[in-house]
Symmetry: C2
Subunit: 436 residues, 2 copies
Amino acid sequence: MQSTKVGLLGFGTIGTGVVRVLQQNQDLLACRLGNNIELVRIADLDTTTDRGVKLDAGLLTDDAQALLNDPEIQIVIELIGGYEPARTFVLQAIRNGKHVVTANKALLAMHGEEIFRAAEESGVNVLFEAAVGGGIPVISAIKENLGANNFSALYGILNGTCNYILSRMDEEGADFSEVLTDAQKQGFAEADPTFDIEGVDTAHKLALLISLCFGTKVDFDKIYTEGISKVTALDIEYARDFGYKLKLLAIGKRDGEQIEARVHPTMIPKDYPLSAISGVFNSVRMVGDFSGPVMLSGYGAGMDATASAVIGDVIAAARDQQSNIGIRSPSLGCPQAKLTSYTIKPMEQIVTSYYLRFTVKDNPGVLAQIAGALGKYEISIESMVQPHRHEAEAVPIVFMTHEAEERNVSAALAEIDQLGVTQEETLLIRVEENLE
Amino acid sequence: MQSTKVGLLGFGTIGTGVVRVLQQNQDLLACRLGNNIELVRIADLDTTTDRGVKLDAGLLTDDAQALLNDPEIQIVIELIGGYEPARTFVLQAIRNGKHVVTANKALLAMHGEEIFRAAEESGVNVLFEAAVGGGIPVISAIKENLGANNFSALYGILNGTCNYILSRMDEEGADFSEVLTDAQKQGFAEADPTFDIEGVDTAHKLALLISLCFGTKVDFDKIYTEGISKVTALDIEYARDFGYKLKLLAIGKRDGEQIEARVHPTMIPKDYPLSAISGVFNSVRMVGDFSGPVMLSGYGAGMDATASAVIGDVIAAARDQQSNIGIRSPSLGCPQAKLTSYTIKPMEQIVTSYYLRFTVKDNPGVLAQIAGALGKYEISIESMVQPHRHEAEAVPIVFMTHEAEERNVSAALAEIDQLGVTQEETLLIRVEENLE
């Protein structure tokens, strides 16, 4: 049996998972491909740590160049992460005519255009199923089997750390910082969790999904991104009382020649299917013009699930390598030159409902002042709760609004700030009622 | 731009949807493929009915042979349904070197081996994404992006008609026959609904999924198949009270050298994700050794969603046609010769929990007699409800058991039948507690 030769850059957690899949499911892969997948080199600066997998002598090197310039290697798996040297290595692999498989969403969200163009010029694939939604086969679904559809919207729960934290806050009534600390202890959150909890990781993934679903380039920096660190257990409790779940939701929507692209804590109706995605699970729901809504869920991270997606891409690249066809399918579903450049709709033009939590001294008249300011900007109130009455203490007042334009809500909140009645920064959480 | 030439056999509802996708999303398909998909012939015995789509003159013919023997046609879409002449036409298309795309689960469940072998011999693809789960890309997910996994189990809600009926019975407390009649009026159930409500359609789809997930041949006739026609609103109400949803569940599980393959009404925990799949939606949940559980949901039927899946397969076949590689990926994920032949575990060896509804005259001592018979066969009772007390009238008594072997439950029920205390056939519904 012939073999397809693979090189692995980066021997961390996911890299170890990749080696485990290749060793453990070797026969299955040979059956699927009629061909062996042979891992011929691993490059990592750390060549001494025991990762718990057995390697042939000489397989592991600290010399990435030896791998990138090895003419025998047909597929390079990049699992270094971050921008550099990943970008340089990926471009070099492409120029050397190797297919690239990567899980690096940050790299692709920031340097995707350069990388995908280079791949088109060299006639090789850049595959990145593992970059979005861990083990969930969402990228290939959009490009291949759902490829007949123009998509109108996509909604995603794309960060396992955030979803784990929010789920536990919901279940236990615990506060954000408390759950985060525990999540870090348990390995569900990084020592520096900023990228996850501030929504940056989710925005990276949303940028890729928007490009794929809508056939467009997305300037990652223009995606509105707000994390979950300001959410309290109280807000989650209110959400529940009002019939919602609170999720860090990635939203992509086509709106004429514009696109909504935003990541923020969002209240969604409790019987909406994404509300059932809890803990470290991820999910993407896409709405195609023929397929209707299609939802995919599974583990969004972790060694094994991510390795599953990486090897899924290796299977695809190996098939292309065997048949020697170069690029079977463009990286973003359509060639770079055919991608349109929609503009992202400014946040002030977004229309949605709002949960507004004011912290005020409970003096007579405060409620009327706030309601008055909201009314002045034509923000219609659906309901109001003022649960704790302690005269002269700082207490929360919560408003749920009907749909309003965000610019009006911002203006009203600025005006309320000027009134001098609020004791803390007012918390705004968007409420999405009409998800397909 | 070059074009890939496609012929369509069968111009019913799905066929009409296929024409609509090809017309409406022509530009998108050209962008994905760098190539046009050109529908050059449609064959159907009915050439006169207006399907609401515009066709070029001469495109529609009643002569299937003209299509099957047209050397220009590279891909044949079979949407005739049923066994014959679909089988003969599909084999002829394959022998003529054409890729085949079909939505015909009955044909593949029954004659798959013959068809897939013929395709291997001719070096063409037989693709059938639309045969299982309508618009949900489950087949390609298993074969391609999740292809690195050995699967241990799969669970599916695979028939929209049944799920619609059960969902409405749940929501409205309405009885089976009432909802069925209404579903037929609304077009959610066929005039002759037997294939759907008796579970046959679900079993066809399960046979295909088992082959794909476990790399095995499945004798369709050996799949235990039980439909939903005996379920009453009362059972659904009890299910809810006990914390379950009632679904027509397709179950495939590896168990050593055996496979569990069964379709029956099943109570599943209400917070299990498949419980949230309601109405005409379908869903498949598969458990891979590396991916963990992955769940895909969407419309399981309907003109547009099914057409989306058909054209997804046409995209794949067109890519293979362009690169002239023949079979990119075996029909069932592994070549026919490599498929193993697991035996199906006999139902009497299944171990699960049971919901047993006896209809008895409420005389003193009846409960003790039933409990005694269950105890004799080592069936441990988790709870019992006897909700309506009308002395001397026929009333239901419901038992929920702990896990037991099905042979013991059957023996106990046979013995209880002999006691002469039951007024109607006892209803047994399996309860699955430990779904991954």
